[in-house]
């Protein structure tokens, strides 16, 4: 039980910091942005690509990637150290996250030798951004319900259907797409995974406006897209296995990278010092102090939970347990905390005063928090995972279990 860097970690951290000092500028202020992997304009996309290339050239782009694929062959803990340090600098959004953290590791397991050789080095070097085309309007929590259809004609597949919630699809060059190839078997058994070219005119991405006003993800319409069988990943009808690898990597990424996302309780204390409640500074009110203390204890707990995940990773264990609780608790904490901040603002909660960036920030926090509770496996799904996989409760009754997809 040691909270400090080991000497090897400290050495690594020093090297990282030295390189970052030479290649980037330190941020000012403590307020980190929540959304660090979405590019919000074309310029950011260009900057992200340049930064990715710069990191790749210096050997930092694939810290946990095996050396054979151009990586550093480092430990998960080194990746964490890198993330911590890079977070201190003013760098472009990590638009290549899906490619580096999700698609790359999936291809390493399920890709053909040719796919790995053709794709992985360029992926790491920032040759194009990737997106993940799994979810569909009728396949949300029930991810295996995809209806996008791929039909084979010789060595070519023709794909038609609709995807949704696809982060960054509108500026991606490449996609990993899950399609239904056999509707005559139960739903988990008839899907296949493909690599697709997002620049193909048969694909149209339309950004979706979220309730916060931001546009992070897309509806993607696919109409008669032709894909060579060489771009199939894994077995025909074996797409679910491939998807599970991607999803496991997604959970890892979400739980390590973002378990402590959102506003900090320190900012809440700051706010409570400046607003009045019942005729006194709010920070003097016992309920305000109590609420902030509870939020703090929960937020610290999530921070330390992410350290437990890192420890499991660095010991070569799979961090299933802690990942699900971090995911489950974070969304609700963010929603409660930002809701409480708005409460503290009184009637001003109903406006975002142009003279006060803070009210806008808390409203934005409040309007993005619900996304935490539904994306990457909704709260309800996380509870099922914990109860079934960890506590051994019986699985939900599945009326669709042995039914061919076309009869659902």
């Amino acid at each position: 039980m040691d909270f400090n860097d080991t000497s090897a970690e400290a050495d690594f951290r020093a090297k990282v910091r030295a390189w970052l000092d030479d290649n980037a500028t330190l941020r000012d202020g403590s307020k980190t942005t929540q959304d660090t992997f979405m590019a919000h304009n074309p310029d950011q996309v260009v900057q992200a690509g340049k930064w990715q290339k710069q990191k790749a050239d210096a050997g930092w782009a694939g810290i946990t990637w095996p050396k054979e694929y151009g990586g550093m062959g480092g430990t998960p803990m080194q990746q964490v150290v890198w993330n911590q340090e890079e977070g201190r600098y003013r760098v472009p959004p990590f638009a290549h996250l899906v490619g580096v953290a999700l698609v790359g590791p999936t291809l390493m397991v399920h890709g053909t030798e040719k796919q790995k050789a053709d794709i992985l080095p360029g992926l790491l070097a920032g040759d194009g951004i990737w997106c993940q085309l799994f979810s569909e309007p009728a396949a949300g929590s029930d991810l295996a319900g995809v209806r996008t259809r791929a039909k084979r004609d010789g060595d070519t597949w023709e794909i038609t259907g609709q995807k949704v919630w696809t982060s960054g699809a509108h500026y991606s060059q490449h996609g990993l797409l899950l399609a239904r190839t056999n509707p005559d078997v139960p739903k988990h058994k008839g899907m296949t995974m493909f690599i697709v070219d997002m620049n193909d005119p048969a694909i149209e991405a339309r950004p979706i406006t979220q309730i916060s006003g931001a546009e992070s993800f897309n509806e993607v319409f696919i109409d008669g897209l032709k894909v060579s069988d060489a771009n199939r990943v894994g077995e025909v009808d074996g797409g679910w296995r491939v998807a599970l690898t991607t999803l496991m990597n997604e959970r890892l990424t979400l739980s390590v990278g973002r378990a402590v996302g959102g506003a900090k309780t320190e900012e809440l204390i700051d706010l409570a010092k400046r607003v009045q409640l019942n005729g006194r500074p709010a920070i003097e009110d016992g309920e305000v102090r109590a609420r902030i203390a509870d939020f703090t204890a929960r937020q610290r707990g999530l921070e330390f939970t992410s350290y437990r995940i890192m420890t499991s990773l660095s010991r070569g264990q799979e961090p299933g347990v802690e990942g699900s609780i971090g995911k489950l608790l974070l969304g609700r904490l963010r929603q409660e905390m930002s809701g409480f901040a708005l409460e503290l603002m009184g009637s001003s909660a109903a406006i975002a005063d142009t003279s006060d960036a803070e009210s806008l920030r808390w409203r934005n926090e409040y309007m993005t928090a619900p996304g935490n509770r539904v994306s990457g496996g909704a709260d309800e799904i996380q509870r099922n995972i914990i109860a079934e996989r960890i506590l051994g409760m019986p699985v939900d009754i599945r009326v669709d279990k042995d039914v061919p997809f076309r009869d659902l």
Binding site: I211, V275, L277, N278, G346, A349, A352, D353, R383
Partner: protein
């Protein structure tokens, strides 16, 4: 004892509900949200005026129908239920009662018929810097002219007249009618959380202010208590609509081969929403009676109604998003309308913290 509505009151609910259902749709709210965030639903407003609904709480001699607080509460719930985008609340729950109770004949004649007929939009400007308690007032009236800033003011950009809380020369709070179309008034539209209900900042620099005699601190408190009860009905209507929309979605949307409403995670949450709404409704009923009969327990009743309605409304809004899943966090879907209107109704009279304190102070035992 009879803790329900009369047949006449049920008839009001039905008639008003029909008019609102036909004219105030969620599609309409989305349109306003996207295309006219500083405006309101003028067509609906005209129809309500034509039907006499704007005069429901105004005496017959001033052009209203002279009904009571319970009838107004029935209408309020329907307005909340249909998310009507109109400058109703401030006008009917605060301005009209203030003028009826404290206005001179001249003030009543000048304003009440214009409110009842829909000819004048009126609002109440109580908040300063987000606070609504009498202690936060810094606006000042001297020699019949007002100086100060009020923010946020619902419909402040569209209203003709505002009822403004301000201090007099002796530092006592009071209520004043200010013509917003006259001199000494500056209005600035604000970025409202609920863009279907616009907010503005009003800056007064020597605008003529017409005092409501006798509307002192205690009177303001009582007016706000009454408004809290009526707003609670709007909140209950709103939360009930969120529940209805969520229930419909849960019956339609399928996952794992069956409607998500069949999963206890969803159905039990809907049951919790329902329970919170009905608890608030019970408190609101008592509040309506206390308001209509000028009962001594009005302050306690108002705080209980507001606290439980705030809770029901926020829970219903947030969980409506959650039950809708990915759809719930998109701008084009309905759930965020409920959340945004919820914050608007909270802002009208302030957050739970100040009402908890009001409740404790209203209890005989709490007044230590």
């Amino acid at each position: 004892m009879d803790f329900g509505f009369s047949e006449d009151q049920d008839a009001i609910r039905e008639a008003a509900g029909r008019l609102l259902d036909e004219n105030a749709t969620l599609v309409g709210a989305h349109l306003l949200l996207n295309e006219n965030p500083d405006g309101f639903d003028g067509d609906l407003w005209s129809k309500l005026a034509e039907g006499g609904w704007l005069g429901i709480g105004i005496p017959e001699e001033y052009g209203g129908s002279g009904m009571g607080a319970v009838e107004l509460a029935v209408l309020a719930e329907e307005i909340g239920r249909t998310l009507a985008c109109i400058p109703f609340a401030q006008a009917m729950y605060l301005v009209a009662p203030a003028v009826v109770q404290h206005g001179s004949d001249a003030q009543k004649s000048a304003l009440l018929p214009a409110i009842a007929s829909g000819k004048k939009i009126v609002t109440a400007a109580l908040s300063e810097n987000g606070g609504i308690a009498p202690g936060v007032i810094t606006a000042k009236v001297s020699g019949g002219l007002i100086q100060g800033v009020k923010s946020p003011v619902p419909d402040g950009g569209n209203a003709d007249v505002a009822l403004v809380a301000a201090l007099d020369d002796t530092g006592q709070p009071g209520l004043y009618l200010v013509d917003l179309t006259g001199p000494g008034v500056e209005r600035e539209a604000l970025d409202a959380t609920d863009r279907t209900r616009p907010m503005a900042r009003l800056t007064f620099d020597g605008a003529p202010a017409d005092a409501l005699t006798g509307a002192n601190g205690a009177a303001i408190k009582k007016l706000v208590d009454g408004a809290a009860i009526l707003v609670a009905f709007e909140q209950i209507g709103l939360a009930g609509r969120a529940l209805a929309v969520s229930s419909d979605y849960a019956k339609e949307r399928k996952a794992f081969g069956r409607p998500i409403g069949g999963f206890q995670a969803i159905k039990h949450r809907l049951a919790d929403m329902f329970a919170k709404i009905e608890l608030a409704r019970s408190n609101a009923f008592f509040g309506a009676w206390a308001l209509a009969s000028d009962d001594a327990r009005l302050a306690e009743a108002a705080a209980c109604a507001r606290l439980t309605a705030l809770d029901a409304c926020q829970y219903a809004g947030e969980e409506t998003i959650q039950i809708h899943g990915g759809i719930g966090i998109t701008w084009i879907a309905d759930p965020h309308l409920f959340v945004r209107r919820g914050w608007h109704l909270k802002a009208l009279l302030g957050p739970a913290a100040i009402w908890r304190e009001r409740l404790i102070q209203a209890l005989p035992e709490g007044n230590s």
